[in-house]
Symmetry: C2
Subunit: 402 residues, 2 copies
């Protein structure tokens, strides 16, 4: 519905940070987003709605400084955000004194604030107020914000200007479409670099929000076609391409996931959300990495989503004889194996399976046996290609998926 | 200057990918960027310029398929891109037959194509044609594109829709402001997920480009104020804040860099580019990580840029007694030390220096001695704070910087 403001629906772009320490940067960013929105949207033929920036404070420090006044912007205090958490926790309206408390432990305080922000954003989404969200922060701030932002559905504009965008980002992004802008310099005032970075970020956010408002963006809808998730790696591409082509001819939509650890998790998250209704897990190489400690490993929950949701599953062993290691980190016990350089960052350690010493098949069997599955087909394609059973050609029974 | 098209300057947003395998996705993305640009910019009061998408092919495969026709878009073939490389290499116009060759080795072919793209983009920048650039790719494509895109100056819109945005991004982003959009699913056709991701990305790119066109964005200019780079970590924040405040009162601009390995490199890159004219390297903890194999390590080139450019340098030992390790990877020899949990992802291993066994000071001394430096001041702040010499309070001589 949106806020009603003289019969004009107001949608919100939330600009979020710890206002006790980042108020200057937050105000600059908010001004940038709003200025760009005003230009991009002010010729919108339908003036029945408008998009406005709202500043949200998520300060988690005990010794709270008074936040700067953010004139021109509507402002959500950290107490407002926290009250979402306590209401949800106690399932009723709390007295004000309770709602304002934060745990004294810094880690716990951040965790509570992060959860509170997640609930706050979820409410705004449910009330159809949320047009997008952008935060800014260092290591701690990115952690606090990313937990909340990545819980929003794929497609909702979600950004963080972060000092850790160039680094190990999977703890922050996970399997979501959260976008990290590299801050280049520390987030510590407005200077010649941060002015450029924040201006650019504000314009990008405004662009994505405006694009969706004009209907150029697409909302994530469960398509009417049945969607099949398919796992792929370089060496299983010929098989997956053939599967994809045949499935599409038969009227299915396919989503391809690179078997990188993240890819498998992304597929499982979309299975849980209902966006994927069947899975052809052709490339299970993540299990090999899990068992031997490789780079692209799944964890023990691999297959859980598929089995819990009882979606039709075709399971195969593509690239299961391959594990991947960082360039100089192939364990010495594999140095005798057939090693294949993939690119500068990653090396593929290719080796024949030793069924007795490997725990791959027991792992797969366990996953399947401990669950009641509607339809699981386990195919072993022992195509001996250069002495391995990587899949360069194969045919897959797809009737089982229908 | 831009292309002249009936006295209208045309600026270019380059949409770049390997068109032999990604033509469908490239066309969809290009349409998204252009549609959004048309809406955001078509009310530009100054119609003396326009912004158009140009598609660029960087296919590096030997068996080149004919690229799809990209009607409605101007199109740069891979031969055009390659010819930039060979012209630059041989410093003269090459015959066409030479310009079209690519090495047969895939890795080398990708390296050549990447370098060619870098030169191509540099020329477009120099000719003032370049409004922005967006690419899309998997692991290989991201590597090819990122090498070229991150060479563009800070502020120029640069994006890649990538399958590896959620992962180890520093090899791709380095110290630049390159933005990676998580592709969520593999880049393999247009489906219910990629349609949303590409539409959003196209709108964000158009927004950033339009924002800059309207002058809301800021170009990176060397400010008239002298800019001082300062290194910081959590425990040196009080010192750095005091330094920053005093420098700003004295009319300097400060850029703060978190000492995370990336931060130090970012500062040095900006020193080389001339954006920083003096350095207060207060927090040299990256050297400790380098020496003991920690997470936030610099490499042996730390300090080289400062010394090469002969900028005034104040060098100190902030947090030099602290090394940082991933949560479960603190080497056993440090388990007796004073360990401090920082957050879930990172643990700080705090220990007293053992000057005889550590190579930190010889390393620092070597860096300084082997270069002729205009002014190097080495300060040792042995503030015994809980038995350590982390810096919670200190004063820095800043007269030397002026």
């Amino acid at each position: 519905m949106g806020d009603d403001d003289n019969d004009v629906k107001v949608f919100r772009v939330f600009c979020i940070a710890t206002a006790d320490t980042k108020s200057e940067e937050l105000l600059f960013l908010s001004n940038s987003v709003q200025s760009n929105l005003d230009i991009f949207c002010n010729h919108n033929p339908s003036q029945s709605s408008k998009i406005q920036v709202t500043i949200v404070d998520v300060s988690a420090s005990m010794h709270k400084k008074d936040a700067t006044s953010f004139k021109n912007f509507s402002y959500v205090t950290r107490e407002d955000v926290l009250s979402c958490y306590y209401e949800a926790k106690h399932n009723k309206q709390q007295e004000e004194s309770v709602a304002k408390t934060l745990p004294s432990d810094r880690g716990q305080a951040i965790a509570v604030m992060s959860k509170a922000l997640e609930i706050f954003l979820k409410r705004a989404l449910d009330n159809q107020l949320l047009a997008g969200a952008i935060g800014l922060g260092g290591t701690g701030g990115t952690s606090l914000l990313s937990n909340a932002l990545r819980s929003l559905p794929v497609g909702i504009p979600k950004f963080i200007i972060s000092t850790v965008a160039s680094g190990h980002t999977s703890p922050y992004i996970g399997t979501s479409d959260l976008i990290l802008f590299p801050s280049v310099v520390d987030i510590c005032g407005i200077n010649s670099i941060s002015r450029v970075v924040f201006s650019n970020a504000g314009a990008a956010v405004a662009g994505m929000v405006a694009g969706r408002a004009f209907g150029l963006g697409d909302t994530l809808n469960v398509t009417k076609k049945m969607t099949v998730g398919v796992t792929m790696a370089g060496i299983t591409t010929p098989c997956v391409s053939a599967v994809k082509e045949r499935l599409e001819k038969l009227g299915f939509e396919t989503l391809i996931f690179h078997a990188t650890g993240v890819g498998g998790r992304a597929m499982e998250d979309l299975v849980r959300s209902g966006a994927i209704q069947a899975v052809m897990d052709i490339t299970t190489t993540e299990v090999a990495d899990y068992v031997v400690g490789g780079l692209l490993a799944c964890d023990s929950s691999r297959f859980d989503a598929v089995l819990e949701m009882k979606v039709p599953l075709v399971l195969s062993v593509g690239a299961l004889d391959v594990a991947t290691f960082a360039a100089k980190q192939v364990p010495s016990k594999y140095h005798q194996r057939n090693l294949l350089m993939h690119n500068e960052q990653v090396i593929w350690s290719v080796y024949l399976l030793n069924l007795r010493s490997m725990h791959i098949f027991p792992f797969l069997a366990l996953c399947i046996n401990v669950h009641l599955v509607s339809s699981v087909f386990l195919f072993f394609f022992f195509f001996l290609n250069r002495g391995l059973f990587t899949m360069n050609e194969s045919s897959i029974l797809i009737r089982s998926v229908r």
